[in-house]
Structure formats: C-alpha cells, structure tokens
C-alpha cells in the first residue's frame, strides 16, 4: 500500500511517473513542477485529498490521480 514506510523527501507518484522534491511545495508549484497543468487531476497527500490553496510539506507521500469521468 502507498502509506507505510517513513519518507524523507516529498515523494510524488502519477501513473508510471515519479518525482522527489526536497522542499515544501504549494499546490500550484507541484502542478507546475510535474507539468500536469493541462491534465485534469486530483492531489492526495498521505491519503487525504488536498485543495488548491494548501501547502504540501516535505516528508509527504503525494499521489496524483486523474479526475476520471468515464463510465
């Protein structure tokens, strides 16, 4: 499962892609750094959905998922 071992960096996963950051990021900085600005996504930090105004602290596990609307 995604949340288990202790992390020292800000670890980000989106599908097959992974990133590590050594500092806190704002939601906007995260989207810019991962170049996901044109993709419709949702951001989870340690299993909790975060809003666009939130800061994402280092030592967090971030899972970015598609805002899926298919059926």
């Amino acid at each position: 499962m995604f949340v288990s071992e202790e992390v020292t960096l800000l670890e980000v996963v989106y599908g097959d892609k992974k990133w590590n950051f050594d500092r806190d990021l704002s939601y906007g900085e995260l989207i810019k750094e991962t170049r996901l600005g044109r993709v419709s996504v949702l951001v989870m930090v340690n299993g909790r959905l975060v809003r666009k105004e939130e800061m994402i602290p280092v030592k967090s596990r971030v899972l970015i998922i598609s805002a899926a609307n298919g059926g």
Partner: protein
C-alpha cells in the same frame, strides 16, 4: 501466425473491424494495433469454475480472440463477437497461492487462488493483460479489497443512471444478488465500440437503443424482477417521482454527476458513484453524512468531446465495486465515507479521505 476469424471476412477488413471494435481500448497509453494483433493470437481451452470463466471473458473482451473446441462459448459469450476464432490452446489456468504467470512448453500458465471472490476477476485479468504488455512482473501478491458484493438481505428500490461500461456489470450483479426492484435510465444506442466493455449488449444489438435491449433481456432472464427502463437523459425530478432507496451513477460525464449529486443531497437519497479511465478509477457512497461529489471533484469540471481510453476490466471492476457498495448499504454495513481508488496496471488500491468544503454549494447547505 495469423488468426483465422470465424466471421469469414477478408483479413484486411477483419483487422479494421477489430480496430473499430477496440477503438476505445486503443486510446489507452501503450495499447497499439500491433499489440492487439499479438493478443488476438492467444487461445483459451477448457475452463473450470465461475472464476476462470469470468477472467477468460474479461481477457477475451480485452483482445484475446482464440478459443478451442472445449471452450464453453455458448455459456460465456453466446452472441458476443464474430471475431472469435478456433486455434490450438496457448493459455491455461491453474490453482495457486498467488497470482502468477509462467510459461511451460510454450504455453502461458495463469495461476491464482481459486478461492478468491469474483470481484478479483478484473484484477487478475488486468495483471495478465499488462503482463502481455511487459508492464508488470510475473508474480503478484493478493491484496484485500475493502468491499465485496454479497447477497442482499434488505430489499430496496435501486435507480441506475447509465447502462454502459459501469452500469452493465452493476445491473447484472445486483439482479444476481437479489435486487428485484430496479429503475434504469439510459438514453443511448448500442455502438460497435461499446461492445468490448458493455457486457449486457451483443453484436446483434448494434444500432438498437440500449433501453429496448435491456427491457427485452430483463424480461427474458429476470422475469420476476420489477423493472422500469427509461430511454432518456437523467432528470432530477425522477428522484422524486421514482422514490428510490438508493441511486447509482454509472454515467460518463461530469455534468450528469453534478445533477445526480445535487438531486440526491437535496432529497436525502444516498448514491453511489464511480468514474473510470484507462486502468484506474474511483468508487464512493455518498449521503448527507458525508462530503458530496463536489467536495471530492470540485464544482467546475467541464466535459470535453474527446473520447478517453478505457479497458474492459477497468469498467467491470468499477461496476462490481459499485454493486458492492449498494449491497453494503442495503445490508446496513458501516461505511466510513472514504473513497476507494484503484489502478489495475500498477496493482495499487487506496482509500482517500475527503473533507467537506465549507463553501460547498450543495452539501454544506443540505439538512444533515
């Protein structure tokens, strides 16, 4: 080796037909025409038990086209596709402690614990599919799932909005598990590129309205069920006129999800929703005690015209999970309000906590 399909069409026409059939699957990253052609050469033989049959059906719906004379086609895929062909067996199922794919004398052996419940069938199909794509390892441990469809002890009236990729397995599972009062709203017609994932429809249904096909099949196979099928778009008024105990959203756009969410919250009706794309998706049960769909998705998502890629086992899994949440609700099981998210390619399953938005125009104002 080139597959010889039973449809009797020239090979180049059959290939184009195959690509049109799997049009939505070909939009998924990594699924190419050459991959589909390679997959179409794989062949199943005899099957043992419901779990093997379900995994085989999902893999055939994902592009495997071969069956041997021992394959129980009339039971599993009676009218599904003219693309099925007969050939020497290349794949075999076996019982095992974990999900494992190996090769033995040129044959692929797919092992899995046969005691697993049927909800794992799309998980296994996904692992095999991505193994063929060289995207996953040959051995995968089995992880538990938070919900599982069960027999329904308390009867209730279920409204299903959308009878496509999610709605098909949901409707079938609910009826098989004891739901006997169902109302289905579906405005669309059956298209060729629906068939790989929309399991309630067959090749002969292409061009017909889904509502008419459903009416015919429900009366044929579920004669004792009280069923209403409406060929129209969802209208919030129908929540009041039909008075369902629970609503299930199986639609393919944000706009209708917002309508269902808002109508259900305002009328105090719980609803289950799922959204899928590629190999991943989410499922959730919402009622006035939980943050609503808008708190999860935001309330400014806009639908685009472009089709997105989707795999048969992904929608099947989403539909089964929705059915599990419906039965869980009707059987009065506790639900913490978390959202369940999955990725069948990465074999990743997560529970997501969502908080109520103080400025939510729907659930922050609804009576709790």
């Amino acid at each position: 080796m080139q597959p010889e399909f039973l449809g009797g069409m020239p090979m180049d026409i059959e290939r184009e037909f195959l690509f049109r059939w799997y049009e939505r699957q070909l939009l998924v990253e990594g699924v190419t025409r050459s991959f589909l052609l390679r997959l179409s050469e794989e062949t199943f033989g005899g099957l043992s038990g419901k779990m093997e049959e379900m995994v085989a059906e999902l893999l055939i719906r994902s592009g495997l086209s071969g069956i041997t004379r021992d394959f129980p086609r009339q039971r599993i895929l009676p009218f599904y596709s003219p693309l099925i062909y007969r050939q020497k067996e290349t794949m075999e199922f076996r019982d095992g402690d974990e999900i494992r794919i190996s090769e033995d004398d040129g044959k692929k052996i797919v092992s899995f614990p046969h005691t697993l419940p049927i909800i794992f069938s799309p998980v296994i199909a996904g692992i095999v599919f991505f193994w063929f794509m060289n995207e996953v390892s040959s051995t995968t441990s089995v992880k538990g799932l938070p919900v599982n469809p069960e027999k329904i002890s308390r009867k209730g009236r279920v409204m299903v909005v959308g009878a496509g990729g999610l709605g098909s397995p949901l409707i079938k599972t609910l009826l098989d598990n004891g739901i006997d009062d169902i109302c289905i709203i579906e405005p669309g017609k059956v298209k060729l590129n629906n068939l790989h994932r929309q399991i309630l429809y067959d090749y002969g249904d292409v061009g017909l309205s889904k509502a008419s096909v459903l009416e015919r099949k429900l009366s044929t196979y579920y004669g004792g069920v009280r069923a209403k099928v409406y060929e129209r778009e969802f209208d919030p008024v129908s929540i009041k006129s039909e008075r369902p105990d629970i609503v299930v959203s199986c639609v393919d756009n944000f706009e209708t999800r917002y309508l269902i969410n808002d109508a259900c919250y305002r009328n105090g009706i719980p609803f289950v929703d799922s959204g899928v794309e590629g190999s991943s998706g989410y499922v959730m049960l919402r009622d006035r005690s939980t943050p609503c769909y808008r708190c999860f998705m935001g309330d400014n998502r806009i639908d685009t015209e472009a089709s997105r890629g989707i795999l048969a086992f992904t929608t099947y899994f989403g539909g089964l999970l929705e059915a599990a949440l419906v039965t869980s609700y009707l059987n009065n099981r506790n639900y913490e309000g978390k959202i369940f998210w999955f990725d069948l390619k990465k074999h990743r399953f997560e529970e997501i906590t969502v908080e109520r938005r103080e400025d939510c125009p729907v659930c922050s104002l609804a009576k709790r």
